[in-house]
Amino acid sequence: MSGRVRIAVARRFLPGCLPVVVLLAIAVDRPAFAVDRFPLALKDDRGVAVRLAAPPHRVVSLAPSLTEIVFLLGRGGSLVGVTRFCNVPAAASAVPKIGGVSDPDVERIVALSPDLVLCTTDGNPRDKVRALEEMGIPCFAVAPQNLDAVIAAIERLGVLLGAADRGSAEAGALRRRARLARRSSRDAEKPAVLFVVSTAPIIAAGEGTFMDELVSLAGGRNVAARYSGRYPRLSVEELVAARPDVIFVAGMTGVERFPEEVTRWKEVPAFRDGAVITLDGDLVTRPGPRLVTALERVSAALADWRAGHPKAPAESSGGKR
């Protein structure tokens, strides 16, 4: 091809292509585009616009899930204060403590002179967050209610912390893993599942909890969803009546075991078949990146159950198939 022809082609097509190329670049690079725009203003889950002049260097996290996300984004070094429950990753334990999730010490936080406080509307007391804001400390509240929102929050915090590329990359990876774990359960038998956060007394995860979502994403049926309240307390008889096929036990800290007087109910398929599975408590209760790991575990356990019950009695899974 001669030089003249090449130029002619360029002359004909370039003017039309240019806007498309620019738009494409913006669309692909949007998070990075936003990072370049520090100072930035980002609305948090309360609807409050948080303004940052530069990427924050002194960050306080008021929830274990948020601490995990900050480390995931590679910004763990910017943390100057975390709660006493922040134990993942191991490096989080070395960060100075500012109290608990429900009782953060405002004075201690102010003394750390943070340029950003990450909080949640679910566990952190609203008036303490307000007190921090009145002292001129920007507070960014995140309160994801389901797995998709958790992953979206990771992306948003990436932008906020000046690690947008890392944020979208990690979010993409998590979305892929979640999709994979979810797909394995499509069009299969739905086992009755009970997710227990305490075994004595028996307290189950009901509707509206992350555990409830994990069960339905993994293709199970949460038998505690019919009780009102997020964490209904069940009697042994209610457990027997619900006849769960699989029971997950998730202690808040350390796993308590079912007392013997409960497990001897062989009418409950999960006890009869030994399908009582222990999960790390903070894996399934923290709205952080490891929720995807929890989904993978729950999904794998239910897949195991299906493998052992190719034609399970579908008496109460009406509507399926």
């Binding site: 305490s198 075994t199 004595a200 007394p201 189950a204 009901g206 009780y227 009102s228 309240g229 209904p232 307390r233 069940l234 009697s235 042994v236 008889e237 209610e238 027997v240 009546a241 619900a242 202690g251 808040m252 800290t253 350390g254 308590e256 007087e261 109910w265 009418e267």
Partner: protein, 323 residues
Amino acid sequence: MFPVLAAALLGALALSASTGPVPISFRAAFDAIFRGTDDTAARVLLSLRLPRALLGALVGGALASSGVAFQALLRNPLADPYILGVSGGAAVGALSVALFLSADASPLLPLCAFGGAALSALAVFLLSRRRSGVSPERLILMGVVVGAFLNAVIMLMVTLAPPGKIPGALYWLMGDLGLGTPRRVAVLFPYVALGTVLLYLLSRGLDLLLLGDHAAFQAGLSVERVKTATYLTASLLAGSVVAVSGLIGFVGLIVPHGARVLVGSGHRRLLPAAFLLGGAFLVLSDTLARAASPAGELPVGAVTALAGAPFFLYLLRRNGRRS
């Protein structure tokens, strides 16, 4: 009156045994009890519902008897193991066992709760003693003070305990029959039997105490010995109950008044009546707690407080009309 009360208790037990998420037909229940069938319905009935109902009857009866004793002892209608700080002491004793020994319901638990109850009762007694003797008003006042202090100790223990060491402590503290297993009934039974029989033997003394210390002494009663025995026995009852089923309020305060309306204030009649009435009341409250709650289970202590106050008012009004 006693056949009526006994029938009420039996009715409450039957109602409680027929309420629950697993459907049990009358025939299945009959077979389970008299023919020893062994299906799910039978096992639910025999090892969950009946023990729970029996536990409710024991706990309610013991609390009511203990309330009768304290009210006679202090000649004060507001006396009750709860208000006197005795329940608080028992809770501290029971929590100490769970914290320092083992969280299991060992037969030791009621004993330590009794120890806590007796110690706090003794503290109240000594604190309110003056040269002129022990005045009922001062006893109540000191009971409230000691009770508040013990509540703080309970909160400290629950907050500072290592996680998982006292599982379900909050539910237990709200009063809970949820762990009514045959074993717990067996653990509690000797304590309650011993306590109620002792109180019954003391009933003549309790009658005399109502006349006042001086008159009782004149009537030939060794006042101090009867008082000490009553105090210890009532503490034993309240303590053992708290150890097994936590802090259930209102029963010890209200039921004695109800029983008094029904059978008068002679203790030989009052004590058994209060026991039956207390048992029926708590079993019904527990049935209500299980049946009415959409969120799994309610702590029975919440229901006794909710159901107790209107019942109390009704009895007061009825009483007023009659006299």
